[in-house]
Structure formats: C-alpha cells, structure tokens
Symmetry: C2
DNA sequence: CATATTATCTGACTTAAGTCAGGTAATTGC
DNA sequence: GCAATTACCTGACTTAAGTCAGATAATATG
C-alpha cells in the first residue's frame, strides 16, 4: 500500500512547500524582499521593540539593523531610542509605512478569501486547516491569564457552552447552571486561563476561588482543532500550580458522564471521585484533589 | 470577532511558513543546499530527463546545469547523452547517490513519523492534512486512465464500497451488486478513470461499455478529502467525452437516494431520471443522458 | 545542404540572506 | 565610580539562488 500515513504526511509537506512558495512571492509582489516585508509586517502588527522582533523572526542583529535601515530609507518606519533604556530602540510605522502595511494586509486577506471561496464547503476546509495549524504549532501554544470577560475568554466560553448543548441529551442552558461570578476567577480569589495558539484561543480553564481553602475548577474546554495535543492536562496542571500559589488546599470539580474523556483525565491525574457537593442539575460526577 | 475565516487561513499560512522553514532545514541537515537536494531527490524518484526536472522545479537552465555539475563532482549522479537525441542528457544515481538519497528518504520518513506520533489521534490529523493538501493542489489533480484491477483503482473501489456500506441503511455487499467485468471498463469497450493528487488516488469513475450504443456510468467516487473541489463533475465530464470518442450514443446510470449529492449532480448536468432498467437491489434512482 | 531550432553548458553578473568581528553608547552591578 | 554587560550598529565577508548573454553541438526543416 503506497497510501500509508507517512506518505500522506509527506504529500502534505510537498503540497505546502510547492504552494507556499507561490504564497511567499506575494510579498515580493510589492517589490520588497521577504526579509524586509516580514519586519515591516511585524512592526505593523504592533511589535515596536526591536529585540522582540529580532527574536521572533530569529534574525542576526546585524541583519536586523540593515533591514531597519532599509525600511527607514524607504520612509516606511522611524526608530527612536526607548524612553526607559536609551540603548534600546523602538520602531513605528510612518504614515507611508502604515499604508504600505495595509497593502500587504489587503493582499493577504484577498489571497485567503480566494482560497476559501474556491472550496465547496469552506467550513470543512477551515476546520482541517485549524487542526493542522494547531498541531504544527503545538509547542507555541501559550497559556495566558485573562479576565473571564475578555473577548478571548468569552469566545472560549461560547464554544464550550455550545458543545455542552450538543453533547447533553437535553441540551444545556447556561442560566440553569451555577455561572460563577467573573470576579471569583480573577486573582487573588482565582484565575482564568486561556490557551492561545498564534492569536486563536484554543482552550480555557477557570479556577474559581472563594477566598478560603477550597476552590473549584470550572469550564475546562479544548477546541476540537487542538485536541490530541495534551492541552487539557496542561491547562489543569497550570491551574493547580496557581491554586497552590494562592494557598488553596482542596480543589473540587463537577462533570458529566457525557464527557467521558474528561472523567478519564481527572482519574489519571490524582483526582478522586467524591459525593455530590452541589445541586447543579447538569453534573453527575464529582471529583476532589488535595494539594 | 478576530477569529473570522480569513484570519484562520492566515494563521494556517503563518504556521506553515514557520514550521516548513524548519522542515526545509532538514535537507540542509545533510550539508547540501536545498536546490541540490531537490534535484537529487527528483532523480532519486526516477526522473531521469533533465528538461523534465528543470521544468518541475522551475529552474533556469544555467542554474540546473551548475547543480548537476555539483552533484556529479560529489559522485552522486552521472549524466549521459540521451540515446534518441544526443542534445538531451539523462541523469541517474550512482551507488553513492542512491545511498545518499535513501538517507533523505529515511530522514523525511522519520520526521513524518515523529510528527504523527506526537498527536493523540493521528487519524484525525491525517484526515485534516489530506483535506488541506488536496485543496492546495486542486489544480494539479490529474485524471488518469487505469486498468480497474490496478492498485490505485482497487484502492478507490475499496473506499467506495466501504462508504456505501456506511451510508446504506442495510449496509452494502459487493457480491449482491452487479459487479461489471473489468474488461468492460477498458478501451475500446469502456474506460476507468482515477483522479490522482500527487500520488494519492482521490476519486474514480467507470464507463462500462458493451460494444454497442449504450454504456453505463459506474462507481463514481470522490475521496472525503477531495470533496468540494468539483472533482465529481470533472470525472463525469471526462467520462462523457471519452464515451463520445467511443461513439456511444446513450449513457445510463443507477444511484441511490442515500447519496443525495450524486442525484443533484446528475440533475444539474443534463441527465434525466428514467424508469428502472435493471433489477440490482441497491439502486432506487435511474438516469439517462443522450450524447 | 544550408539554415533554423533545440538542449545544454559556461562565464559574468546581481540580489537576498546571513555570519562574524569589532565599535559605540547606555546601563548595571559591585 | 569603574568594570562588565547590554543593545544596537557598521564593515567585511560568504553562500545560495537566480539571471542573462552568448557558445557549442545535435537535430529538424525547407
């Protein structure tokens, strides 16, 4: 059989190298080498600290310096010494630079749009692209503490509730569940973690404290595109570590048998099943972990 | 909402450019620039005609010549004039070259293997990669005439039967269906077309002739990863064109209501529903098209 | 058979990217 | 306050990739 998993991965690699070559050329389409375009793009995205950009694009400091000089000569950016530390420099777009950056944005967007529009069911294609991107960049998924009312947090919660509604036999209505106050999931009472994969939220977990020794884990969710990457475990471990920092002694959580993979995760990571500790209508399984 | 379709496509592009850069470096891992490695790889894959390789990798003739000279100096390949046309040259691997090529193969395979193994459900990841690869390379999908007993044809038929078994309420058993003799789907009686996407069969259709004016369309199938690319229509159009060449006057086909997208395709491309013309147990809809 | 065409090669270039060894000025640590 | 460190810059280099104008030899065309 020539259609084994490995040749399928290699077919993907070939497809991507062949097409992304053409994709990169769009940057050259505006008569600027890729390196300069990438720096301009980073600055346009709001990165102003040169050291950060250099690190992100993994450029040599000499090369970086020359690229900046080039963009300056073109009148696209200006660099000034940092207020706090005059050794550092910060870069920002000029008006010309801003409009040039917008051109790149428009080009990239149009390209993405065209690619999607050619497909018969763009949703399926997007789902597949999300899975591949999350997997390729798995080592770059970062957990960030966010306010539960932050856009990214709300996005996760929306997806989470939607999934519960699909999975539970009788659907799911947030108002029937004990929806914890946002302030219980903010330091020093608790915390809300969002897993970000290159700008896209792909998972979350809430640690809901009461100020006392006991806290609850709530709203553990991982995006379908990011499953299989060990993200749930990572979110739980982080939440536990923060709980310890907050001098919490006992963690509790409730869950539902319609989510078997969750129960399995808890059992395998030191949680023990306990008796019902609330009268919430949805959960039918309860766990505890002593820190 | 910052998580719109377009930013998701762009996130994919970023992921791919970031990681495939690292992927390309594996070629440099053997101390040879990418260009030379790509040429060696093409020759290893069995491409011997220099003009073909040059065209495939879209290299300038001067550059190609230099790369070949380099590989020759390394003792990895040898080039000799073509038998038929002494202006052309053909390249082949030496023994050293063959083992060097194997090293690249082993590296690529190991890399693919590692990538898959890190994922919790490799099958889902592969499915997603197939979808993306098919979509990226949609313009490079070629329809090839193959013997219905050829490995790639059998692969398609296997997938096709498997899908029927899943979709039909009572399953599907090939032996109960009129399985046309392979020779009825070979010229001059008929033809069997396989859609190939970079080595992977992603669709098929059979034109089953009888030597007379009437022929049947059978076994139209498109891989899940290649749906939404208009491939079914393309397969049908090709089959019809070939039918005309074979001086066939009337085309018939049977299908099943469990395959609604198929019926819709036929209705939209000049087929008219007719009465049952066979006693096959599976189909419940019958179509005809006069050429 | 003369001429045009084709496939490949060679030499002389350019551009992009990157490396490396210092150099300068600001900041930090003791 | 002085030495070490840090952030950025400059100049001198290398390598990879690619372009372009001929040169050469074989083949096709009238």
């Amino acid at each position: 059989m020539t259609h084994d998993p490995i040749s399928r991965v290699r077919r993907f690699n070939r497809a991507v190298t062949a097409e992304v070559g053409a994709l990169d050329t769009s940057f050259l389409g505006r008569g600027r080498p890729l390196g300069a375009a990438r720096v301009l793009n980073a600055i346009g995205q709001g990165q102003s600290e040169i050291a950060v950009i250099r690190d992100y694009l993994s450029l040599d400091s000499g090369l970086m310096s020359r690229l900046l000089r080039g963009l300056e000569d073109e009148g696209l950016i200006e660099t000034v010494p940092d207020q706090q530390d005059a050794r550092r420099r910060v870069a920002r777009l000029t008006d010309t630079g801003r409009s040039e950056f917008q051109e790149y944005e428009a080009l990239s967007n149009a390209q993405a749009q065209t690619f999607l529009a050619r497909h018969g069911s763009p949703e399926d294609l997007l789902r597949a692209m999300d899975i591949v991107a999350s997997s390729l960049r798995r080592d770059h998924i970062v957990l960030e503490e966010k306010d539960p009312r932050h856009e990214d947090a709300l996005y996760c919660l929306g997806e989470y509730y939607g999934e519960l509604a699909r999975r539970f036999d009788n659907g799911f209505d947030v108002s029937l569940s004990r929806d914890p106050d946002a302030k219980d999931m903010i330091r020093q009472r608790g915390v809300f973690l969002v897993a970000m994969s290159d700008g896209l939220p792909v998972g979350c977990v809430g640690l809901k404290g009461s100020g006392g020794d006991i806290a609850e884990i709530k709203r553990l969710w991982v995006a379908p595109s990011a499953r299989g990457l060990g993200l749930a475990k990572r979110l739980m471990t982080s939440a536990e570590t923060i709980a310890r920092d907050l001098t919490i002694k006992i963690l509790r959580l409730d869950t539902n048998s319609a989510l078997p993979e969750a129960k399995q995760l808890y059992r395998g990571t030191g949680w023990t099943e306990i008796d019902r500790f609330n009268d919430d209508p949805y959960p039918d399984a309860f766990f505890e972990k002593r820190l």
